[in-house]
């Protein structure tokens, strides 16, 4: 029943998309809009003088878009459903609508998006109740992050469907036409570029917002600036989780697709190199997701952990010797309180030299180091250090690289202690002290042989040596 109604709603939305688009384009009739667009960088700002036309159009835009969807809902028979069904349907519809909004921009200008309109009209969080049923009100809300449907009292962030869902990835599990596959791979590359562009854009918008409020707080420590700062911190934390979740869902789908294509391995050389390039691009994209955690000490929510795990597992399925992904997987498992993988440890003994680090695992270590035990951190750092030395030919490490290792070791201390989530007790029988000693001797050997200690870096060198000790 729910599925049929979702289907009907999407179908109506598609049929009458022109009308919806006209609402989105209404702003082009306003004189001030052109100027606004030229100066707009993702942050709301006020026009010097706002005409009556702007406020009239804002009102019209709000009413039109809201009633547009309410009409579709009523046509599709949503209102005769049970309350819980309505909630579920609206949740799905919200995701779809926001994905369509992600792909929409006006006048060939990527600066002209739904968010631009919300900021231009100054209508963030304008909401309207459209259905009252059994004491439960359902509403539609226009926000800078998209349109929200659902229970009127719901405070959720607008959700968006992953972009991978509309990239037609499934079509190529059975490749029938290499030319089409070639074009599709390039479409996927473009989608990854665009998605990470959006990630960076939205994160910097958040950072500017946060920075401004922080500066206010520093300059005048008033109750108001304190409240504003608290609100923006909360907004940033929630927003980062939502965005990371949304991006990672797509990245996992893309990786699964690449893994399947790679295991087929019977493609033309040009196609194989495009697939490899896509895999590399995807890795650099995923690394961007670590940044809020490793740089700004953001603590990602549980759901994101399992997506990282999914991604690492899929990469290992493609290349069983991908040490970086093994380390990522272990980092996640450690932060879930699980044992240390013997497989990862066996790498140290079995693989004598030159491992391939497909990405720098220190970002993964840094991102989740606040949550796992000290012992696991030292063990992870030991493996990271050893692999780092083995990776670099001819194994010589300079000050800069050594300080990378040092900052990784130091990372857990830089987080505020969170006893509720940090895994403090670990199963001692998990790993023997001999193992620590053995790895420490290997790492120390590398440090002594391949690092030139001078007066300037002596302190750094000693810090690393001490940090790797249990």
């Amino acid at each position: 029943m729910s599925n049929i109604i979702i289907q009907k709603i999407i179908s109506e939305f598609e049929k009458d998309f022109d009308t919806f688009e006209n609402y989105l384009l209404l702003s082009t009739e306003i004189n001030e809009f052109k100027d606004y667009l030229l100066n707009y960088r993702g942050m709301p700002f006020r026009l010097k003088e706002s005409s009556l036309q702007v406020s009239q159009c804002a009102k019209q835009f709000t009413e039109d878009t809201m009633s547009y969807f309410i009409n579709i809902f009523s046509k599709s028979g949503l209102f005769s459903c049970q309350n819980h069904e309505i909630t579920n349907i609206l949740c799905e519809v919200e995701k779809s609508v926001n994905l369509i909004l992600y792909y929409w921009f006006g006048l060939n200008d990527r600066n002209y998006q739904f968010m631009t309109l919300i900021h231009f009209y100054n209508i963030n969080n304008v909401s309207s109740v459209f259905l009252t049923k059994n004491n439960q009100d359902f509403s539609v809300t226009l926000t800078e992050y998209g349109i929200k449907f659902g229970l009127a009292e719901s405070l959720h962030e607008p959700k968006c469907m992953p972009v991978s869902k509309v990239c037609a990835l499934t079509d190529f599990y059975i490749p029938n036409n290499e030319r089409v596959l070639f074009a599709r791979i390039r479409t996927v590359q473009r989608e990854i570029c665009l998605l990470i562009d959006d990630w960076e854009h939205l994160n910097s918008v958040l950072a500017v917002d946060y920075g401004t409020k922080y500066q206010n707080l520093q300059q005048n420590n008033s109750k108001k600036s304190e409240e504003e700062f608290e609100a923006v911190s909360l907004k940033m934390n929630i927003r980062r989780d939502t965005l990371a979740l949304w991006c990672m869902e797509s990245f996992c789908d893309f990786q699964d697709w690449i893994t399947v294509l790679k295991t087929k391995n019977n493609f033309n050389e040009d196609i194989l190199s495009e697939i490899d390039a896509t895999a590399a691009l995807l890795l650099s994209a995923v690394q961007k997701i670590f940044l809020p955690a490793s740089v700004s000490r953001h603590r990602y929510c549980r759901e994101i952990l399992s997506l990282f795990k999914k991604f690492a597992t899929s990469r290992i399925a493609m290349n069983s010797e991908d040490l970086s992904s093994h380390l990522l997987l272990q980092v996640i498992q450690s932060s879930e309180g699980k044992d240390f993988s013997n497989l990862l440890l066996s790498f140290i003994e079995k693989k004598p030299f030159e491992w391939s680090l497909t990405f720098d695992p220190s970002s993964a270590l840094k991102a989740f180091s606040w949550s796992y035990s000290r012992e696991h951190h030292i063990l992870l750092c030991l493996i990271y250090t050893i692999s780092y030395f083995r990776k670099i030919a001819p194994n010589f490490v300079d000050n800069h690289q050594l300080s990378d290792i040092a900052t990784t070791i130091q990372m857990p201390e830089t987080f505020a202690i969170d006893t509720q989530h940090k895994i403090l007790n670990f199963d001692k029988s998990d790993i023997s002290p001999d193992l620590f000693e053995k790895l420490y001797i290997i790492a120390k050997g590398y440090l002594e042989k391949n690092f030139k200690v001078t007066k300037n870096n002596e302190e750094l060198y000693m810090f690393v040596l001490n940090g790797l000790k249990l």
């Binding site: 979702i6 179908s11 030319r179 070639f182 479409t187 473009r190 570029c193 691009l281």
Partner: protein
């Protein structure tokens, strides 16, 4: 209205500059009325005095080459190289204009995009059929809201 002009520079969509202060500063450095793409276009033309690519042409060139496969790119670049004396292929030129080596190798090509801040286009106006996997007929359109909606509709109507 100037809004409705079919901007050729949209051949390569400039990544929206993020709103952080540093990035804003970079945008301010771009002369008024010019898009980042035009800036890069003019840098190219100074490195190529003989051809003097206009910004839109430069964008067009990039669009084509980037979306052509290795073999075609290498061939095309070689022809181009033969037309100019070696002293005109200066360092700066190599910096701004992705080399054949770079474009021919998909990984470095994507890296170049990554660093340049541009997003590659899946469509190309030119046809590259001979001996390659790339051709105009199979080039996919960019995913836009309409195509996405069409695919969403297919998704919801197919049994899960």
């Amino acid at each position: 209205m100037s809004f409705n002009e079919d901007y050729e520079e949209n051949m390569i969509v400039p990544r929206r500059r993020a709103a952080s202060e540093i990035k804003l500063l970079r945008l301010e450095l771009i002369p008024k009325g010019k898009t980042p793409c035009e800036e890069i276009g003019s840098e190219w033309s100074s490195a190529q005095p003989a051809e003097n690519l206009s910004p839109s042409k430069a964008a067009l060139c990039l669009g084509i080459e980037v979306w052509a496969p290795q073999s075609v790119v290498k061939k095309r670049y070689k022809t181009l190289q033969l037309r100019y004396p070696p002293d005109q292929f200066v360092e700066k030129h190599i910096e701004w204009r992705p080399s054949a080596e770079l474009l021919g190798n998909p990984t470095s090509r994507l890296n170049w995009f990554w660093q340049s801040g541009f997003v590659p286009l899946p469509v190309s106006k030119l046809d590259y059929k001979e001996g390659s996997l790339w051709d105009k007929q199979n080039a996919e359109p960019e995913i836009d809201s309409r195509l996405a909606l069409k695919r969403l509709k297919q998704l919801t109507s197919s049994p899960q």
